[in-house]
Symmetry: C3
Subunit: 349 residues, 3 copies
């Protein structure tokens, strides 16, 4: 189905690149250097991959000026090869083509404002008072409850659910199974039972956001949950009620952010990280995978916790010792005291 074909001249114009070699060479795919064959283009960015350049079978390679003379085939010379790769990949992307219009099986509520350029797929259900901006694509099986606003040029993959009141900016992508605006986890304990606290805030999502498959973002209890512009959320992330994620922060899969926590701008968060509720993380913070973030972080930098896996028997010994750690520390102090060692490094528990 994918019969796309471009000459180096065409790609050079698209990428503002300089052609080295025959501009009439045609390429039909972009693939990694080490697996490329004739008729395909590749790219070189990460220095780790330089070793593959000399022996690549690609017909052309996108690379920097610096690497051009080592290229054994034609080349497209650019300033940022990684970005040029990303742009080239858009040309070979085989994703669905969305035709403007509303599929006859879609069910649209009353008082909606849906631009004529919008593409709404089969079995989509849209509630009342929904607004959808130009060129936005709603794939099959998406359910959008009432009073939702979605900006222009967004793309919702199949089976996304959007609860009532949600606001979504322009150019935002939401992957299948994501749930936006579900109730936050709030209960009042009274006479032996938990009573539900209605979650009457909404979710506000900025422009240029991407939300991964099966990620969940809860609506605010009072006030709103906010996802800033340019935020990228991977799959299976959980965002609690009244959380705020600052602009251009990226979060890897499986991470959870508990209620009312604020994460700053340009943060980078690994996978399976847990954030406690009601804490504040400043801008430019990196959290490595599987860390437990229990307290606010006020200084930019890299933060980590957890211990990497070791062979079982070694782990078991160390793990038992961990349970004795306070005793070990106290006994060490006792020895130090006996022999007059300094204890200035010691903090008491």
């Amino acid at each position: 189905m994918n019969n796309k074909k471009f000459t180096l001249a065409q790609l050079a114009e698209f990428l503002s690149a300089k052609v080295q070699g025959d501009p009439n060479i045609e390429v039909t795919a972009i693939v990694p250097l080490q697996v490329a064959s004739a008729g395909q283009i590749s790219f070189l960015d990460n220095p780790k991959y330089r070793k593959f350049l000399a022996e690549t079978n690609a017909s052309a390679v996108i690379l920097s000026e610096e690497m051009a003379e080592k290229c054994p085939c034609a080349a497209l010379i650019v300033k940022n090869p990684y970005l040029a790769y990303a742009m080239t990949a858009t040309l070979f992307d085989n994703k669905p083509v969305a035709k403007p219009g509303i599929h006859p099986t879609a069910i649209i509520g009353e008082h909606c404002e849906i631009d004529n350029s919008v593409a709404i797929g089969p079995n989509v259900v849209i509630g009342d008072y929904v607004k959808i901006g130009k060129n936005t694509v709603i794939q099959p099986g998406c359910i959008i409850n009432h009073d939702v606003e979605i900006g222009a040029n967004c793309w919702l993959w199949p089976n996304v659910t959007i609860y009532h009141g949600t606001r979504i900016g322009a150019r935002t992508i939401i992957h299948s199974g994501a749930v936006i605006g579900s109730d936050g986890f709030g209960f009042a304990f009274h006479q032996g039972q938990y009573h539900k606290i209605p979650q009457i805030g909404i979710v506000r999502i900025g422009d240029d956001v991407e939300i991964g498959a099966n990620t969940t973002i809860d609506r605010g209890a009072l006030g709103d949950t906010i996802i800033g512009n340019g935020v990228k959320l991977d799959n299976q992330i959980q965002i609690g009620h009244n959380v705020e994620i600052g602009d251009h922060t990226v979060i890897a899969a499986g991470t959870g952010v508990a209620g009312s926590t604020k994460v700053g701008k340009y943060c980078r968060v690994g996978g399976l990280v847990g954030f406690a509720g009601h804490i504040t993380i400043t801008d430019q913070v990196t959290i490595t995978a599987m860390a437990s973030v229990a307290q606010s972080i006020n200084e930019p930098g890299i933060y980590s916790s957890g211990v990497p896996a070791a062979p079982f028997s070694a782990w078991k010994r160390n793990m038992v010792r961990f349970q004795q750690l306070d005793s070990i520390a106290r006994r060490l102090m006792q020895l130090e005291r006996k022999f007059g060692e300094q204890e200035q490094e010691e903090e008491s528990v």
Copy 2:
């Protein structure tokens, strides 16, 4: 769309509250003290927020007798302000209104018993022999396989999937993307391959349960998986086959409970916690976030594991030392032996 308006007199009657000030004051929203403006009502429960009372712009505040004289505006005086807030929020809730009846695009199986008061949305698919109690709402895109029973006054948000045989009590709420009754993870290894063990038990869910978005609850292998009355499960929780969760236990997002584990009543479990399989947790146990629960717990109390994130360089040093922990403990013992220190605190590995 939200044009709700109540006088303090109306709210006082609803909440069994005492009005302090003008009972004819009208309010149109409930919001936090520090952001409230004229025409809005707020509440004060958590002592941390007392500082916001004096300067609130709210037209009225729900609070306790004790705080009433410090209120700068009208007040509704109640015994439990948090519960009164929860009740008031129900009045301003903008969630969808469900009209009784079956949408023409819904597909209903044979031999079903569905009360006339039930509201079934577009594109819902219901199998044979399904029973649904009074006033229950099934939102668009839900799929309910055969032989399922759902009690009265339940609410299923869009795109919920219920496998065959599931039993659900009254007043239970299930959020979008939740999957109830999928197969447990059971295989018999034979001649180099894993052979599927059919999961022929079901899931039984009690009354007044809430199940979060994209949470999954597996059916029993033999016998059933049981979720007690009043249990509240947050988003993206995984409940393995033949697990039992006791009444009124609450579990935060991302937690997993492995097969055949029994969690007691009135437990409180943080997010991203892992429970091993085949263990028993007694009643009234609190597990803090990200803990690893590897063994049964027989005493009520608070249990924790894990180490909070630290700056990367400090973490890296401590993490390497963790891998040396058994060696550290042994060397300490050696020194102690040399100098005749007591070792009674030491347990051998």
Copy 3:
């Protein structure tokens, strides 16, 4: 609805078992030894359950030759009682019966090749150029984008989403809410913004695979994400782009595998495990639950990390000491140096 009934003679033929007792005994269910009643069959495999054999009320028990003489009722004697239980459970399985044919509400694209024996449920949406093999069942609400190939005898439970280009082998089972082929998490940072890198690879899934509810498998960036034959993935697993999972590896719920990591064959991975990206795990590796796998593993064996939960006060003391661990180790070394102890076990940080 479940009126299945078998004589021991029938079961013996099905299981290649030897009957001990009356072959005309009829059984209507298979249940655990300790809860069985007359008219039901049970099985004994795990030695832990031997204590229940003498007092079972079952009409018959599936067991090994060795245990036969201790059986208080009729028996079916087999070589592998656990496998025989799995086979017997298939007979009593009450899962939906799928009738060949395409439901009138299903929407099928152009140029599809769908065998006449395929069962496609209500509200299924299938894109163009999709191929589906014999006897495969697609339950309601599944969305399959264009250019997907699904082998024979597969079973997709409701509300599964398959992105374009995905390849799925024969006899593969996919549970509800699973998302196959969503975009991997790839961005090029340029001038203060993250720019999306189109994910133009696909997902290739082998034969005899099972994929749990709400599990997500991302498509490759360039090149493909590969799930080998016989792989079993539990619920809520996240598989990043360009990951490869070797044949017959089993992974428990909630585990995440970051991009480009290769997991070998016959590995066994616990729940809530995190794998870093770009690492390689050899064959026959076992990873225990909640471990953090940060580096490649080249030797088969069992690997672990993490510390089990302890009562809060003990945990808090040890956790504070963990933050002092490097200091503790250095101070111990100082004492050892002072007293001439050997330090050969010490590795420097």
